[in-house]
C-alpha cells in the first residue's frame, strides 16, 4: 500500500493539475451518482418510523372489471370483508394493519384557533409495524380499536400548537368537530415516510364510514393494509397466495359478470412507491432500468475523460513500466498496480463526492420534493440519507469508475514492448 501512496503522492506533486482534475472529475461523478442513489434510498431504505420497509408489504386498492363490457373497470380501496378475505392470516405475515388513506381534517381545541392536519385512520397493529417515538402516553390498543373508541395519537407539533406542551395525554381534541381523547404524543414524522406520515392518528373504527362497504359494491370500501412479514418469509410465496385468493374472488364474481384483476399485490416498498393507482401493475423494472441508465451515463461520461487523463499519466510513466518489466513485473501485475493506484485516487475522489452528495441532500431538500409532492419541503436527518449501503454503493461506483477509466489504459501499458518502453525516455 505504501508504494502505491508514494507513487500517487509523487504524481500529485509533479503533475498537480492532472491530479486535481482527476480528483475533481471523480468527485463530481460520484457526487451526481450518489445524489440519485440517495433519492432512491430515501424512497426505499428503512428509517424511523418506517424501519421495517424491507419487511413491509402493502395491499392497497382493488381493480374490478366487467367480463362482458369492454371497459377499464373501477379501482379503489377495499371493504373490510374483501380485506380480510385477501390479506387475513397470510403465511409468513407477522402483523396486518388496516388503515384508511390520509385525510386533511379540521383540528380544534376549545379556546384555540383551529388548524388543518393530516389524519390517518388505522389500528393498533400499525404501531407494531412502524416505530414511532412516543413523547407522552401510548398508542390506542386493540380493545379501543374494536370498540371504535374516540382516541387519538397526535404529533408533537400538533400538541404544541393546540396545548402549548407535548404532554397532552388525557386532553380533548376535536377532529372534524368530533371530540377525541388524546392518548399519546409522538415525534413528528417526515413526509418522506410516505406510509407513516400524519399529524393525527385515530382508530379507523372510530369513523363509522370506514367499516362499511362502499355503495359501488361489496368489495369496495375505504380500507388498505400494511403487513409486516417474518424475517425469513418469502415475498413471492405471499404474493402467490394473494393471487390465489384473487382468483377465488374472481370466480365468485363471475355470476355478477365481474372479475378482479390482480396487479401484484401486496406491494413491496419499491412497488408501492412506483405504483400509480390500483388499476395498474407497478413497473419497477422500467423504473430500475431508467435508474441504471442514469448511473451508466453518469459513470461513462467522466470515465471516458478520466481514461484520457490516465492514458496521458501512463504515457509519462512508460519508461518506468519498462524498467519494472525488466526486473520481473508481469503484464498482469502492471495492470493490477495501475488499477490499484487509480482505485485509491478514485476512492479519495469518491469520498469527497459522497460527502458532497450527503451535504447537498441534507441542505437542498428540494431534490426529494417528488417523493411526497403534496407536502412542503420535508425534514431531513442523516439516518434518512446515509446508510451502510450508501457507503458500499459509493465504493462500488468508485470501483466501476476506476475499472472503466483505467482498465484500457492499464491493459495498453501492459502490452508495451519493454525495450521500447525503457528507451522511450530518450525519445
Amino acid at each position: 500500500m505504501k508504494k502505491y501512496l508514494q507513487q500517487i503522492w509523487y504524481e500529485m506533486r509533479h503533475q498537480p493539475l492532472i491530479g486535481i482534475v482527476t480528483l475533481s472529475a471523480t468527485a463530481l461523478a460520484i457526487f451526481l451518482i450518489m445524489v440519485v442513489v440517495t433519492i432512491q434510498q430515501v424512497k426505499v431504505a428503512p428509517f424511523a418510523p418506517e424501519i421495517n420497509r424491507d419487511r413491509m408489504l402493502s395491499g392497497h386498492g382493488m381493480h374490478v372489471k366487467s367480463l362482458s363490457r369492454n371497459e377499464d373497470g373501477s379501482a379503489m380501496a377495499i371493504s373490510p370483508a374483501a380485506l380480510h378475505e385477501l390479506y387475513d392470516s397470510l403465511p409468513g405475515v407477522k402483523a396486518l394493519s388496516v388503515y384508511v388513506e390520509r385525510n386533511m381534517e379540521n383540528i380544534s381545541v376549545t379556546g384555540r384557533t383551529s388548524m388543518t392536519a393530516e389524519v390517518l385512520d388505522n389500528d393498533e397493529k400499525f404501531w407494531d409495524i412502524f416505530s414511532f417515538e412516543f413523547i407522552d402516553g401510548k398508542p390506542y390498543d386493540k380493545a379501543a380499536v374494536e370498540a371504535g373508541m374516540k382516541e387519538a395519537v397526535i404529533s408533537e407539533s400538533v400538541a404544541r400548537r393546540m396545548f402549548d406542551t407535548d404532554k397532552a395525554s388525557g386532553r380533548e381534541i376535536k377532529i372534524a368537530h368530533i371530540p377525541y381523547r388524546v392518548v399519546g404524543v409522538v415525534k413528528d414524522v417526515s413526509p418522506l415516510a410516505t406510509a407513516a406520515y400524519a399529524h393525527v392518528f385515530i382508530p379507523y373504527t372510530s369513523q363509522p364510514g370506514n367499516t362499511r362497504a362502499s355503495e359501488y359494491g361489496e368489495l369496495f370500501g375505504a380500507l388498505e393494509a400494511f403487513m409486516l412479514i417474518d424475517e425469513h418469509a418469502s415475498i413471492p410465496d405471499i404474493k402467490k397466495e394473494v393471487e390465489r385468493r384473487y382468483s377465488i374472488l374472481s370466480s365468485r364474481l363471475k355470476k355478477q359478470d365481474q372479475e378482479v384483476l390482480y396487479h401484484g399485490q401486496p406491494y413491496t416498498q419499491e412497488e408501492r412507491i412506483t405504483s400509480h393507482g390500483s388499476n395498474n401493475t407497478p413497473d419497477t423494472e422500467t423504473d430500475r432500468n431508467l435508474r441504471y441508465a442514469i448511473y451508466v451515463i453518469l459513470l461513462l461520461i467522466p470515465a471516458i475523460n478520466l481514461g484520457s487523463i490516465t492514458q496521458s499519466r501512463l504515457r509519462r510513466r512508460i519508461s518506468e513500466i519498462g524498467i519494472r518489466r525488466a526486473f520481473g513485473c508481469t503484464r498482469r501485475r502492471v495492470i493490477l498496480d495501475i488499477l490499484v493506484e487509480n482505485f485509491i485516487i478514485s476512492l479519495v475522489g469518491g469520498i469527497i463526492g459522497l460527502l458532497l452528495a450527503i451535504c447537498f441532500s441534507y441542505f437542498y431538500t428540494g431534490i426529494f420534493s417528488d417523493i411526497n409532492p403534496e407536502y412542503p419541503t420535508p425534514q431531513i436527518d442523516f439516518s434518512m440519507i446515509f446508510h451502510t449501503s450508501t457507503f458500499f454503493a459509493a465504493l462500488l461506483f468508485c470501483f466501476l469508475l476506476n475499472l472503466i477509466s483505467a482498465g484500457l489504459p492499464a491493459w495498453r501499458a501492459s502490452r508495451v514492448n519493454p525495450v521500447e518502453a525503457i528507451n522511450s525516455v530518450h525519445k
Partner: protein
C-alpha cells in the same frame, strides 16, 4: 560450461515500409563467471543482442539457452519470473524510478519475487547498498544523487535479487571518467568476488580490454 548459449540468432525488425536486419546468425557461448564485452559501432545490434539475452526481446530465428533453459516458447509470466531470478540489468541512463527513494528502487526486483519478507528485503537491500557504498543514502530520492551514485544504486538494484547474470548496457556512458572507473571497479568486484557473469555493451576500448573477452559486432554480424 556455458551459462548462455546463442545459436543462429537473427533479428529482423519489420515495419510496413522497411525491413531492418539488426542481428544476423549470431552464435555465441558465454561461460559462467565470464566478463564479456560487446563492442561495435552504433546500430550494429549490440543492444538488440543484450535485450534478447535479457528476454526483453525475442529473436526472429535461432535459439537462446540460459542456465540450461531454452527461452523460446516462454510466456510473458515465465519470462518475467526467469528475468527476476536470473538476470540483473544496468542501463546507461540508470533508469531509477523517480517516485521511489533509493531503498525502494533497489528493492524493486524483490517486490516481484514471492516469499521475501519485509525483514529479509530490508536486510538484502541494506547489504547491497553497503556494498556499493550508499547505505547512508537509503532514504534519498534519485534526484538528490550524482550520476555516479545513481549508477551505483542501479547496480545495487541489479544484484539485490542475487542473479547470476548481469547485463550492462553502456553502464559508464553517462558518467565522467572518475565515476566511470568507480562503476567499472564495482562490476569487476561483482565478477571476481561473486562469480557473476557480466555482459557489458561498451564503446570504451580501455574498459573492454579489462574484461575477459570482447565480442565485436558490425552490421548485425559478429566479426570477432
Amino acid at each position: 560450461m556455458p551459462i548462455i548459449t546463442i545459436e543462429g540468432v537473427s533479428k529482423t525488425y519489420r515495419t510496413k515500409e522497411i525491413e531492418t536486419l539488426a542481428l544476423e546468425n549470431v552464435n555465441l557461448e558465454i561461460q559462467k563467471g565470464e566478463f564479456l564485452s560487446i563492442m561495435g559501432p552504433s546500430g550494429c545490434g549490440k543492444s538488440t543482442l543484450l535485450n534478447i539475452i535479457g528476454l526483453l526481446d525475442t529473436p526472429t530465428t535461432g535459439t537462446v539457452e540460459i542456465n540450461g533453459k531454452m527461452t523460446a516458447g516462454m510466456n510473458d509470466s515465465t519470462k518475467a519470473h526467469f528475468r527476476n531470478a536470473n538476470i540483473g540489468f544496468v542501463f546507461q541512463s540508470f533508469h531509477l524510478i523517480p517516485s521511489l527513494n533509493v531503498f525502494d528502487n533497489v528493492s524493486l526486483p524483490l517486490a516481484y519475487r514471492n516469499g521475501v519478507s519485509d525483514s529479509e528485503r530490508h536486510r538484502r537491500v541494506s547489504e547491497v547498498l553497503e556494498r556499493v557504498g550508499l547505505s547512508h543514502r537509503m532514504r534519498h530520492n534519485p534526484g538528490q544523487l550524482s550520476g555516479g551514485q545513481c549508477q551505483r544504486v542501479a547496480i545495487a538494484r541489479a544484484i539485490v535479487g542475487n542473479p547470476e547474470i548481469i547485463l550492462a548496457d553502456e553502464p559508464t556512458g553517462n558518467l565522467d571518467s572518475k565515476m566511470g572507473a568507480e562503476v567499472m571497479n564495482l562490476l569487476h568486484t561483482l565478477n571476481k568476488e561473486d562469480g557473476r557473469t557480466i555482459i557489458m555493451v561498451t564503446h570504451n576500448d580501455a574498459q573492454a580490454a579489462e574484461t575477459d573477452r570482447i565480442a565485436r559486432f558490425f552490421d548485425g554480424r559478429q566479426i570477432s
